[in-house]
């Protein structure tokens, strides 16, 4: 990891060095980013593709370390030395930059129409009037399963909750595989891969999320408690000692072929493809009855905005329009399977597992994690509390109702939505 980062930094400086050699009339755009891991993709694929189409504009991708990014970017913006293009973290961190006037309003940028309102929600003002970053990628939640195990036990991919639990029972009765690979030690697995994974089917995706933010619904309502009731039912299907099972433990259990189902985020695809020796498939969170509308968590993760102080705003806008185009989406999504383009136009992807995940967008409605927008601004922090309570529910420490009540009480203490 360190060597990788070092290489990335060295490469970054070498590009910076050669940038000076560009023709004098060329405009050079600098991209600020924390994604050092993506340097090769930018350098070898994305930037050449853009420069071939737009002669006269040179682009330099200059990442900094993820843990330093926010602080370094803030300092550079204050000093006026930040790059023209700024990779945006989702929600409050970028919103703060926009409010300070560091990010330009991109609502009218050509290409923004390629994105759905959900995709744009991570980089909008609370009222949704102004957008300030072009959405780049999201991660989708679902379940990855061991195809060989399913074939051997004669289980078909579950669509409804009853089928899902029937499948789990069958795997458990057989005994060869641990039915589900998940632990509660690291807490966030229970919340992110559990609650936020299956929840949207209960609270009806965006409808429920918007109602929660508006204050029309509460976390103690039936739709928000029900996912906890399902989570509580997962306990018998988890491996021995799941209370002390960490996230890497779960990954290893699954890729070693010891577990049949893995509650997943699509970012696992790249790693699982290289490690698992068996065939894998994926299915979206099961619905109550066959034919019900399904909802998936299609969580916005990374975007790109324009430095309001950029001297090359026009060239930068050309670049951002290209980032919003299907061309960019195709290259990006194929280079990083599991990080899906948020573009509304379908992107052709090679990886079968990634294709399966992204195909749900066609039949299900997308939403983002319920706790991320607005609701995690205060103390106690709703996202962190959701981690703790989700693990408590699976461990059996708290009943679903008690957990929901704790979360709502915490939220009530600081969040007062205007009715």
């Amino acid at each position: 990891m360190t060597t990788k980062l070092l290489t990335a930094l060295l490469l970054g400086t070498s590009i910076l060095g050669s940038a000076g050699l560009a023709h004098a009339d060329d405009v050079t755009l600098n991209i600020e980013s924390w994604r050092g891991d993506d340097l090769a993709i930018w350098k070898d694929k994305l930037i050449p593709a853009f420069e071939a189409k737009n002669p006269g504009i040179k682009v330099v991708f200059a990442p900094s370390a993820p843990t330093e990014y926010d602080a370094a970017l803030g300092a550079k913006l204050a000093a006026g030395s930040a790059g023209d293009l700024i990779t945006c973290r989702p929600f409050d961190k970028s919103l703060e930059l926009f409010k300070k006037g560091n990010l330009a309003d991109l609502s009218a940028l050509p290409g923004m129409e390629n994105f759905s309102p959900v995709a744009k929600s991570a980089w909008q003002t609370d009222d949704g009037k102004a957008s300030f970053c072009v959405p780049m990628a999201s991660v989708i939640h679902g379940f990855i399963y061991n195809k060989d195990a399913f074939d051997k036990l004669g289980i078909k991919v579950p669509e409804t909750r009853d089928e899902f639990f029937a499948a789990l029972d069958k795997i458990k009765a057989d005994g060869t595989y641990i039915p589900m690979a998940m632990g509660t030690k690291d807490l966030w697995e229970a919340a992110t891969m559990g609650y936020q994974n299956i929840g949207p089917n209960y609270w009806k995706g965006e409808d429920g999320r918007a109602a929660l933010i508006k204050g029309d619904q509460k976390l103690t309502d039936k739709d928000w408690v029900a996912p906890y009731e399902e989570l509580a039912k997962w306990k018998p299907y988890l491996g021995d000692g799941f209370e002390a099972q960490t996230y890497p433990d779960s990954q290893n259990l699954f890729t070693l072929g010891r577990a049949a189902i893995y509650p997943a985020g699509s970012w696992e695809i790249g790693l699982f493809n290289t490690q698992a020796q068996f065939k894998m498939g994926a299915f979206p969170p099961p619905v109550e009855k066959a034919g019900d509308t399904c909802y998936i968590s299609d969580h916005t993760d990374i975007g790109m905005g324009l430095n309001a102080a950029s001297k090359n705003a026009d060239a930068a806008k050309t670049f951002l329009s290209w980032v919003a185009s299907p061309d960019f989406a195709t290259i990006y999504a194929n280079a990083l399977p599991g990080f899906f383009s948020l573009n509304s136009s379908p992107v052709k992807m090679e990886d079968p597992l990634a294709q399966e995940f992204v195909s749900w967008r066609g039949k299900c409605k997308s939403t983002i994690r319920s706790t991320y927008q607005i609701l995690s601004r205060g103390t106690p922090n709703l996202e962190n509390e959701t981690w703790v309570e989700s693990a408590n529910v699976i461990n059996g420490t708290d009943t679903p109702e008690a957990a929901a009540k704790k979360l709502q009480t915490g939220l009530d203490s600081w969040y007062h939505p205007a009715k």
Binding site: D240, E243, A244, Q245, N381, A391, N395, T397
Partner: protein, 309 residues
């Protein structure tokens, strides 16, 4: 007469010069940050400005259940953490030292080194190694217990609310038992032969000799060890953070003052850090430790009898 004509002693400036480096360094790296923390805890960030709010942050820490429940929970856990150390680490340390100082023991140097080595390991290594040892999936603990037929007693200790804190305390004891052992060992070695010989002449040998002669002589060292343990435990953070993460799960059952402070000060995930509340918690930690040390200095240490040889 003679005193009158003696010249006035010159100002002894060399004392100041010799003290200056230590005073300057100590002020710069200890006193100023401490004062800064105290000051920070009296302010609050309102609309991007630091505003003086008096003791408002402390009122919130103790009055607002969102903070006070967490604080008391952390303090309770921290106290338990300390009790385990006092009941397990220090008696074992004394016992090991007594065994090591026995002249008939062979390989004493080897045992001494082996027991002391974990102390110099990094917390990260200790936390990670024990997480693996106790892992229900790949750990050696379940297998070893299986070999002696005790598999049924194994549970995922670090993941269970009722055991996690005790398990972590014992890991910390394992790591640090070398320190009391070394200090007591040194104290035992410094007991003069004559005292021991005199005891033997009076017919006090073996265990009775330890209780009646040696233990009273090493009591001041035990006092020092207790206070070191107290300060170390109430400042602890690293082991919990590396083994359980900043949220100190499950269900905050391993949350101690250090992790509570960390979350408040630096934030965690979507939680934004609040340096002012963090400073208020740090101030409370300082006061708790200061109180404990004062109790020791004024009530305990003054009553310990000292023997001069």
């Amino acid at each position: 007469m003679a005193a009158d004509i003696r010249p006035k002693r010159p100002f002894r400036w060399h004392i100041g010069v010799f003290l200056a480096p230590a005073v300057l360094v100590y002020t710069a790296i200890m006193i100023l940050p401490l004062a800064g923390t105290l000051q920070l805890s009296l302010f609050r960030n309102i609309e991007q400005h630091q505003v003086f709010v008096g003791l408002e942050n402390f009122r919130m820490l103790f009055g607002d259940p969102n903070w006070s429940v967490g604080f008391w929970n952390a303090l309770r856990n921290n106290t338990w953490f300390f009790i385990i150390h006092m009941l397990v680490q220090n008696p074992i340390g004394v016992m090991l030292a007594a065994l090591l100082s026995s002249p008939r023991l062979r390989f004493a140097a080897f045992y001494r080194t082996a027991i002391f080595v974990p102390t110099i390991l990094s917390f990260v290594i200790v936390g990670f190694a024990w997480k693996l040892i106790l892992s229900p999936l790949w750990g050696v603990a379940p297998h070893l217990m299986d070999l002696v037929g005790l598999k049924s007693l194994f549970t995922p200790w670090l993941g269970k609310e009722q055991y996690a804190l005790t398990a972590l305390s014992l890991i910390s004891v394992w790591q640090f038992v070398g320190i009391p052992m070394m200090l007591i060992y040194a104290a035992l070695l410094s007991i003069p032969e004559e005292v021991i010989e005199a005891a033997e002449c009076d017919g006090i040998t073996g265990l009775a000799q330890f209780w009646k002669i040696k233990l009273p002589l090493i009591l001041p060292s035990i006092g020092i060890i207790s206070i070191l343990t107290f300060v170390g435990n109430f400042n602890a953070f690293d082991l919990i953070y590396t083994a359980q993460g900043a949220l100190a799960g499950p269900n905050y059952s391993t949350d101690i003052l250090g992790t509570f402070l960390y979350r408040a000060f630096f934030g965690f995930q979507l939680q934004v850090g609040d340096p002012n509340m963090g400073a208020a918690i740090a101030t409370m930690m300082f006061l708790i430790i200061l109180g404990g040390v004062c109790v020791y200095l004024f009530l305990v240490q003054t009553r310990l009898r000292r023997y001069q040889f």
